[in-house]
């Protein structure tokens, strides 16, 4: 069977939802003839026409605003930010309009904002960021960051069907690197559920997105030393699946929180606090964080390599924690 890439999985998920529901439409920059900067929407113009594949001016705020307005009319817009770095141009529409309208006046805004994120592609400061923490600090939003092709497809489908605004981060470095066998039959993946990506007994790494693979590489190496590392893939960053995280930490008694986004104010800090509050008596060592240092994402390879967390950094901390 042919393997499906992560980018193709996202494309299939959107395609299936557009076939299923005539109210689903796409709005963003260069989606139509060009097929999107990463070709996620390739072929959709031909299949669904200009009415449902809307190329817009370079106006991120208007793209998200228009998606909100269309969602009030019963439609299911899927908006694309060409790079997650540009989502800041639409920040007000996302955090002040979309996130709050259900709470304020009972008006749901079921939109999906897709945002290709992440580094490792020498994109420099404006094509590499991981801005998920900004949105995890915004009640009313749901935030998703899949690591596998299976989850990318199942979660984009759930996001489109969800009745709340969803920010959907797709990691660019995974688009063509990750390839999997996907089920023939239709499936979805529930929002709000983490999963144990790899079972282990000695310590837990909680992570998401591309860092799942850094953790996996580290786990393979550590296994040779007899250290068994469990990997929890969050998949959904908001709402947080506390139960799965705490269950793993209670089992292994040691926790590392790993993300590609910068350290201060990152999701790791929030998770560390929750583990300290709710699983303190199970801990046999300090809760550790591994994240990018607090600086912009640099361009030049040696600088970017130094910036990004990787398997080597995970191995060092995991060894230390194992022997603690």
């Amino acid at each position: 069977m042919a393997l499906t890439t992560y980018v193709e999985a996202v494309r299939q998920g959107i395609w299936e939802e557009m076939e299923r529901d005539p109210d689903v439409f796409l709005i963003g920059e260069d989606l139509g003839v060009y097929g999107g900067a990463f070709k996620v929407t390739l072929g959709m113009l031909e299949r669904f026409g200009e009415r449902r594949v809307i190329d817009t001016p370079i106006s991120e705020s208007a793209i998200v605003g228009a998606a909100i307005g269309a969602s009030f009319m019963g439609l299911r817009p899927v908006a694309e930010m060409q790079f997650a770095d540009f989502i800041s141009c639409a920040f007000d529409q996302i955090v002040n309009f979309a996130a709050k309208c259900r709470y304020r006046w009972n008006a749901p805004a079921p939109i999906v904002v897709r945002a290709p994120s992440g580094g490792g592609i020498h994109g420099g400061p404006f094509h590499s960021q991981n801005p998920e923490a900004w949105f995890c600090h915004t009640p009313g939003l749901k935030v998703i960051a899949p690591a596998t092709a299976y989850d990318a497809k199942g979660l984009i489908k759930s996001a489109i069907r969800d009745n709340d605004p969803v920010i959907f981060f797709e990691h660019k470095a995974l688009y063509r690197r990750v390839k999997e066998d996907l089920p023939e039959q239709e499936y979805t993946v529930p929002i709000g559920k983490a999963r144990v990506f790899r079972e282990g007994r000695d310590l837990t790494v909680v992570t998401y997105g591309a860092m799942v693979y850094a953790a996996e590489e580290a786990a393979n190496e550590l296994a040779r030393e007899g250290i068994s590392m469990e990997i929890v893939d969050l998949r959904t960053l908001l709402p947080i699946d506390e139960e799965t995280i705490l269950a793993s930490v209670r089992k292994t008694s040691k926790a590392i929180l790993l993300h590609e986004a910068t350290l201060t104010g990152g999701i790791g800090g929030e998770l560390a606090a929750r583990i300290a509050e709710k699983a303190f008596e199970h801990l046999d060592g300090p809760v550790l964080r591994i994240a990018a240092p607090d600086c912009p994402v640099p361009y030049s390879p040696p600088l970017e390599d130094a910036f990004l967390p990787n398997a080597r950094k995970v191995i060092e901390k995991a060894r230390w924690l194992y022997h603690y």
Partner: protein, 344 residues
């Protein structure tokens, strides 16, 4: 042709004349303008000073002709995006004044059950979308609503309201540009009241009129006397027809003046005195009333009786709102998310 179902809150009040005649329009317009003025007077000058309004107060005194003239040109299925000086739009769509008082007082009887205050209210069933505080954010959202109307093949249009200050924000420009490119049925109604909070127009923009910006986006525009409800209504009818016919967005700039500070806590003492005096002579309610009597459409005693009816209704509405309870703290976390997500 404007087929808004009139909502008279006064007992026995009915609008028998169609809006097509000036006399019929005058009667309905006067009612809604007076109701808006009376409700806002009570909120700003009485309830606020009594400490019964728990937050800010923003009124449209002197600007009532704009939301009334334009609102009466919309069909019930058309979408409305009011700004914070367009209270009468809610009454035209059937929101009761008592809900507005309760909204301002933070009671459960308000449109947001105390989740938000003042003019931050909407109801999708009534096709009214609530503003957020960052002015002009409504414009791209309204553009999207208009695009959705076109997507669905309906004949409905969307009307979005804003002040001159909002036209300085990027969202205003992005939203209009997108709507124009998409030829979306969007009617843009600007109340140019010469001040954005304390900042006068000449510090807000270097062109003379907001409408001067329209050609840059390839949209139709006109400028009207915003204190003349007949002129606003006719312009709004032209705009709605243009949008309904699929010819894209249409901007109406209504020249008016804010006869109040930015909000109840602002005395507006930065406004030169002669401007207050000059614009007081152009009061939109006085003008309609005078014309109705001059034209013989109504006699003074009849209009006095309608005013008295409005005051009585407003008294009762305030009483109702004050009896409405404050929300229970147990409601704090309700409606952050869909309580019953669609099963998948």
């Amino acid at each position: 042709m404007a087929a808004v179902k009139p909502m008279g809150f006064s007992a026995g009040l009915s609008f028998s004349e169609a809006l097509d005649s000036e006399a019929g329009l005058a009667r309905q317009a006067l009612y809604y303008m007076q109701l808006m003025r009376e409700v806002e007077e009570r909120i700003e000058r009485k309830l606020y000073r009594q400490g019964k309004i728990v937050g800010g107060v923003y009124v449209g005194r002197g600007q009532e002709a704009i939301c009334v003239g334009a609102g009466l040109a919309a069909e019930p299925d058309d979408m409305l995006f009011p700004c914070h000086r367009d209270l009468a739009l809610y009454f035209i769509r059937g929101v009761h004044p008592r809900q507005v008082f309760a909204q301002y007082m933070g009671r459960v009887g308000g449109l947001t059950r105390g989740k938000d205050g003042n003019m931050h209210m909407g109801d999708l069933r009534l096709r009214i979308v609530a503003i957020i505080s960052a002015m002009a954010a409504s414009v791209p959202v309204a553009a999207g609503a208009a695009m959705a109307q076109k997507y669905k093949g309906s004949r409905d249009v969307t009307m979005v309201f804003f002040g001159d200050g909002a036209t300085s924000r990027g969202d205003w420009h992005e939203g209009i540009n997108l709507a124009s490119v998409q030829k979306a049925p969007l009617v843009l109604v600007c109340n140019n009241n010469h001040y954005a909070y304390s900042t006068p127009l000449d510090k807000q923009m270097a062109c003379e009129n907001v409408a001067d910006r329209a050609p840059g986006y390839g949209i139709a525009a006109e400028i009207v006397d915003g204190n003349d409800v007949f002129a606003v209504h006719q312009a709004a009818r032209r705009a709605v027809r243009h949008a309904r016919e699929g010819r894209g967005p249409y901007l109406i700039e209504c020249k008016t003046f804010r006869m109040t500070g930015h909000s109840a806590h602002d005395p507006g003492d930065y406004v030169p005195k002669h401007l207050w005096e000059e614009w007081a002579q152009k009061d939109p309610i006085d003008r309609v009333r005078r014309r109705m009597i001059e034209e013989g459409w109504a006699v003074e005693s009849e209009l006095d009786a309608i005013s008295a009816g409005i005051r009585r209704d407003v008294d009762a509405a305030i009483e109702w709102a004050e009896a409405s309870p404050f929300p229970d703290p147990s409601e704090l976390l309700e409606h952050v998310y869909d309580p019953a997500p669609r099963s998948i």
